[in-house]
Symmetry: C3
Subunit: 135 residues, 3 copies
Amino acid sequence: MQQKEIRLPKFERGFHLITDLIERELTTLPKIGLVNILIKHTSAAIIINENADYSVRVDFESFVNKLVPENFQGFTHIFEGDDDMPAHIKASIFGQTLTIPITNGKLNLGTWQGIYLCEFRNNGGARRLVLTVYE
Amino acid sequence: MQQKEIRLPKFERGFHLITDLIERELTTLPKIGLVNILIKHTSAAIIINENADYSVRVDFESFVNKLVPENFQGFTHIFEGDDDMPAHIKASIFGQTLTIPITNGKLNLGTWQGIYLCEFRNNGGARRLVLTVYE
Amino acid sequence: MQQKEIRLPKFERGFHLITDLIERELTTLPKIGLVNILIKHTSAAIIINENADYSVRVDFESFVNKLVPENFQGFTHIFEGDDDMPAHIKASIFGQTLTIPITNGKLNLGTWQGIYLCEFRNNGGARRLVLTVYE
């Protein structure tokens, strides 16, 4: 089993394709295996979605802001900013961990699948991931 | 580690119990292990939910169509049909990958747990899964 | 690979930090590895979120009750109580399985990350988990 911890560049709030960034860190993959990715934060998520059209990522951001609005009257955890409590909820709706198969030494994703970083804070900073490869 | 890629039959839009279909593909399971399932698409999901009552699956479909409506005014990615962008969002809310324990050579799910294919497109076609078993 | 099935204490409806309970069950962890957690139920979930401030867990409960309301007119699966069908949907939005890296013999979570039991029923009882550790 191989494991490494990496720090992503800082991304702005929104949905960002990071498949290439991840693959660049996984230099020697087994012929068959699995890779586990954990994002070590509670206001960002890692998902799989469409890798081709930028408008999909734009629409994700518009929609999640309507799904989990910053002005929800019930929030009491508000001292870290209006974007904080919605970011926690979005993070758990979308999830912080993925396990993806490796086949013939490559991530075995579908043709249209890519890995997204979902940055839910206005200033989330550089996010840390743990990558674990097992064969 | 064993791995295989399978193609499900075509299902109509909605939530469908596929536990038996998955188990039929996993003929020789270890005594203790894990199975990882990835659906290689961005407009369908794989979840665990109630395996007995058909009405649960019907209500899932009614509710997700209200949660992520096809007429959301903010969508710009609309050229693949009204059902396309909502399908992408539903897919990431529910998730494309599961890792399930194996105990005594069988999937160790709860009594009432089954595996659902969530088909979010009107014509999604035959979906592909990667099954990876490790012990 | 080590595996054990545990029963949590009964928790009331809401979001509950159970990191310590899980760690207490995982006495001999490998230097590098992964732990998979499955909750064997369809009306509760296991997520990662903020481990410090109780108000975050309170706000989760307020918000999910608005997101998946008990009075949604479309529900037909209503004979097990008003909280039943919403609990099934919440369970699959948040998820029943997590896979978390182990580093230096410990769960490698972020500083602010903890494991939550999400209890969506009014009387969910003592929930069962399967813990599987592989190295």
